[in-house]
């Protein structure tokens, strides 16, 4: 009883003493409550999960056609995008475009609203983006072949994103998504394209490390580096041959990784024990640039055009200013109208897998 009485008195006194604290908390709570209400009201209807992309037995996945929807970027920020009847972004159809861009999420315009997307800026010339998040170069090349009748005579621009495109070319999956890839035939007898493993089932093993550990290796003098650049040479050469046969101008443009988010991860990866010996961030540009020069393909290092300010704050993709600059680069390319690539020597192309045998670890 005495305890209850003491607690009653002490509790009442404590409530009086707590009152100023509650008034301060009330002020903060009002701001929080109004902000949360407005944020909830502003959140658009999201399409995530399977509705965003669909399985494709030849190329792994494609963006769904006829979308007009919101998705979220890596920070969870919304962006609105639309796709045409074939699943591609950009105004008009592929056959009506002046410039056709191939590539991955940068070509797709991941993280940016339609209004600021490079493919929708300006009316001077028409740009079509044939790209999807997560695509490697094998998938981009697939679409060049598949759309050959529609892109003949046009200017083709191929966006390469070295931090993951190069390695994904030789891996059977992009994280858990099965992708077509290329591998060297045993005995050094050229390269072959592998697609027999494609299905909707998630790939059971992680194909590559999640952040930039392997990219550090690629930018260094390593076996992985030599292997992925040999693979990219094969793919670029094949694209050059195709462009020549279609009388298309082909430009290869490398997308630099300048976003603050990725820079932090890259620095962390470089600090790992044993990592970064002989690291040269410009190695991919130099190596791919040299290949393009050999094949007579104009090469653009977007590192010369973009800066960290052109990237989203908490995502590795471009912001509106970045898209505007990329559009300017495309306009310059379109104005110059590059000729078809000159004939190359000693072609080494990726052929379809000779037989549909199960892959082993040694293969990949």
């Amino acid at each position: 009883m005495i305890r209850t009485l003491l607690a009653l008195i002490a509790g009442a006194l404590a409530l009086v003493l707590a009152l100023p604290a509650m008034l301060v908390a009330l002020g903060l709570w009002i701001v929080r409550a109004i902000t949360a209400r407005l944020a909830d009201a502003a959140a658009p209807q999201l399409v995530e999960g399977d509705p965003f992309v669909q399985f494709d037995p030849e190329v792994g996945w494609t963006p769904r056609p006829n979308l007009s929807t919101h998705a979220t970027d890596l920070n969870g920020d919304f962006f609105h995008f639309t796709t045409d009847q074939d699943g591609w972004r950009g105004r008009g159809a592929v056959e009506d475009a002046d410039v056709v861009v191939f590539g991955d999420s940068f070509a797709f315009g991941f993280g940016i609203d339609d209004a600021a997307f490079y493919g929708n800026l300006g009316r001077e010339f028409a740009i079509k983006a044939v790209g999807a998040p997560g695509y490697n170069m094998v998938q981009a090349l697939h679409w060049m072949h598949a759309l050959a009748p529609k892109i003949a005579g046009k200017t083709l621009v191929w966006f390469l994103y070295p931090p993951n495109d190069l390695e994904d070319n030789v891996r059977p999956s992009m994280l858990r998504y099965r992708t077509p890839f290329i591998r060297e035939r045993k005995g050094g007898n050229g390269w072959e394209k592998v697609t027999h493993h494609l299905s909707e089932e998630p790939w059971p093993f992680p194909s590559r490390k999640r952040h930039f550990e392997n990219y550090v290796e690629i930018c260094s003098d390593s076996d992985l580096s030599r292997r992925v650049f040999r693979a990219s040479d094969v793919l670029i050469r094949e694209a050059a041959d195709l462009a020549r046969s279609l009388e298309c101008g082909l430009v290869v443009a490398t997308v630099p990784e300048l976003s603050p988010l990725a820079q932090r991860q890259l620095e962390e990866a470089r600090r790992q024990p044993g990592a970064g010996d002989g690291f040269d961030a410009s190695r991919p540009d130099q190596r791919i640039g040299r290949t393009c020069a050999d094949l007579g393909i104009p090469f653009v290092a977007l590192a010369d055009e973009l800066s960290a300010a052109d990237y989203l704050e908490k995502d590795v993709h471009w912001n509106a200013e970045g898209h505007r600059k990329v559009h300017d680069v495309l306009r310059r390319i379109w104005t110059e109208r590059p000729p078809p690539p000159s004939p190359a020597e000693a072609p080494e192309q990726a052929q379809p897998a000779a037989r549909d045998r199960p892959m082993t670890r040694a293969d990949v």
């Binding site: 003491l6 002490a10 509790g11 707590a18 604290a21 209400r37 407005l38 999960g49 997560g134 992009m174």
Partner: protein
């Protein structure tokens, strides 16, 4: 919860700017009306209008660009988290103060073996299976919240005095930041 999410998406930042603009507008309008009324220097309505205009100008300065909005938001989050932890520490001290004062009235704990008894151990009745894991030996009723269980435990355990601590616990729960210090990694997902 009185703090905003630390790792906020753009629409949260925009919503914060709008909320603070509205609050600045209203509070400056009230201040403006109050001053003109106190100083008898004109119509309170005019004072309210001038105050509201000042509020809008101030918010325009604060939230002029996306970068400024983000910086203001981050500043607010840092400030509110600091205030939140200070308030929580203050309320915790008050709470323990009440417990200490109640403790002056004696404890129910029997630390000595009763005279004539051979042991101080007592048989423990088994708790219901659904109460396993519960901190108070009673089943947690889903959707009923912790207050009901707390009050019930106070009455059954003979510690009615704990009811006078309840408001302080509730306040503590309100001002404490529930947000965990970690956020999802950079997992690149397609679907």
């Amino acid at each position: 919860m009185i703090t905003l999410p630390t790792h906020a998406q753009r629409h949260w930042v925009t919503a914060f700017a709008k909320a603070l603009t509205a609050l600045l507008l209203v509070s400056y309008a009230i201040l403006g009306a109050g001053f003109t009324w106190l100083l008898s220097s004109g119509s309170p309505m005019v004072g309210a209008g001038v105050g509201a205009a000042l509020g809008v100008v101030m918010s325009a300065l604060l939230f002029a660009t996306a970068g400024a909005r983000r910086r203001s938001y981050d500043l607010w989050v840092r400030m509110s988290r600091r205030v939140s932890s200070t308030l929580a520490a203050y309320l915790t001290r008050l709470l323990f103060g009440v417990v200490a004062v109640a403790g002056l009235g004696g404890s129910k704990f029997e630390l000595q073996r009763p005279r004539g008894a051979s042991t101080n151990w007592q048989p423990k009745r088994p708790v219901p299976a659904e109460a396993y894991g519960s901190q108070h030996g009673l089943p947690d009723v889903p959707g009923k919240g912790w207050v009901r269980a707390y009050v019930s435990w106070g009455f059954k355990g003979g510690g009615v005095w704990i009811l006078f601590v309840l408001p302080l616990i509730a306040m503590l729960g309100w001002v404490q930041t529930q947000e965990k210090g970690s956020f999802g990694g950079n997992i690149y997902t397609l679907y």
